[in-house]
């Protein structure tokens, strides 16, 4: 991955938002877009058969130990 030579200087508390520069179609097809990908990871090579709770444990570790 080649890093671009551009830096953006902001203050400690500034809110920085990243964008890919493409415009969205907010609100028009929200549910249609989500429905198309529901269950897309059912046959995932690692996460298949897991609920999100288990996937999150896989990614972040177990929940609080105290």
């Amino acid at each position: 991955m080649k890093a671009p030579s551009r830096y953006v200087r902001v203050h400690y508390g500034d809110k920085v938002v990243f964008t890919d520069g493409k415009r969205g179609k907010r609100g028009r097809d929200v549910l249609a877009v989500w429905r198309r990908s529901q269950g897309l990871w059912k046959d995932h090579p690692v996460f298949h058969g897991m609920a999100a709770k288990e996937v999150i444990e896989w990614l972040r570790g177990e929940d609080s130990d105290i």
Binding site: D14, K22, Q38, G39, W41, H44, G61, S64
Partner: protein
């Protein structure tokens, strides 16, 4: 006043794996869209979803998953937000408190960055997995999709 919420990666992961929360996720997303809510997503959560994409060994499925993730971001105008120094300090406070209470994890726990980021940007986190770590943030409302619908549906 604009309704704001931070989506946890578990929202998108529940949707993608199709677990027990999947229908509540759709209902909550529909409700948030109708409210024209401002939705945020942190880099840590982005990396978590992207890990799932990286783990795919089939190029075609990887491309499909990448497109679907990008479509979700665009259609919801999901704002991918960076942490800043204020957020880093708040996550550090939570980590230090956790260690003082006897917590044994030695690395900075992602939930603390996620909680601090959500508290900073919206004061609200929508998640299908409300982990104990998130209790460290008193100014953060942690909601499951069902909890959100019960509390905020008209």
């Amino acid at each position: 006043m604009t309704f704001k919420a931070r989506l946890d990666s578990s929202i998108i992961i529940s949707h993608l794996v199709g677990d027990a929360h999947k229908d509540d996720v759709l209902l909550a997303i529909d409700q948030l869209s109708r409210r024209k809510a401002e939705l945020f997503f942190s880099l840590v959560c982005y990396a978590e979803v992207w890990t799932g994409i990286e783990l795919m060994d089939d190029d075609e499925r990887k491309a499909q998953a990448t497109t679907s993730f990008a479509d979700i971001i665009r259609v919801n105008s999901l704002m991918i937000v960076a942490d800043n120094v204020a957020i880093a300090k708040e996550a550090a406070r939570a980590q230090a408190e956790y260690r003082r209470r006897g917590g044994r994890r030695e690395v900075l726990i992602p939930d603390f960055l996620i909680g601090a980021n959500a508290a900073y940007f919206s004061g609200r986190l929508l998640t299908t997995n409300p982990r104990d770590f998130l209790r460290s943030f008193l100014n953060l409302e942690v909601l499951t999709p069902r909890g959100f619908l019960q509390k905020y549906s008209a």
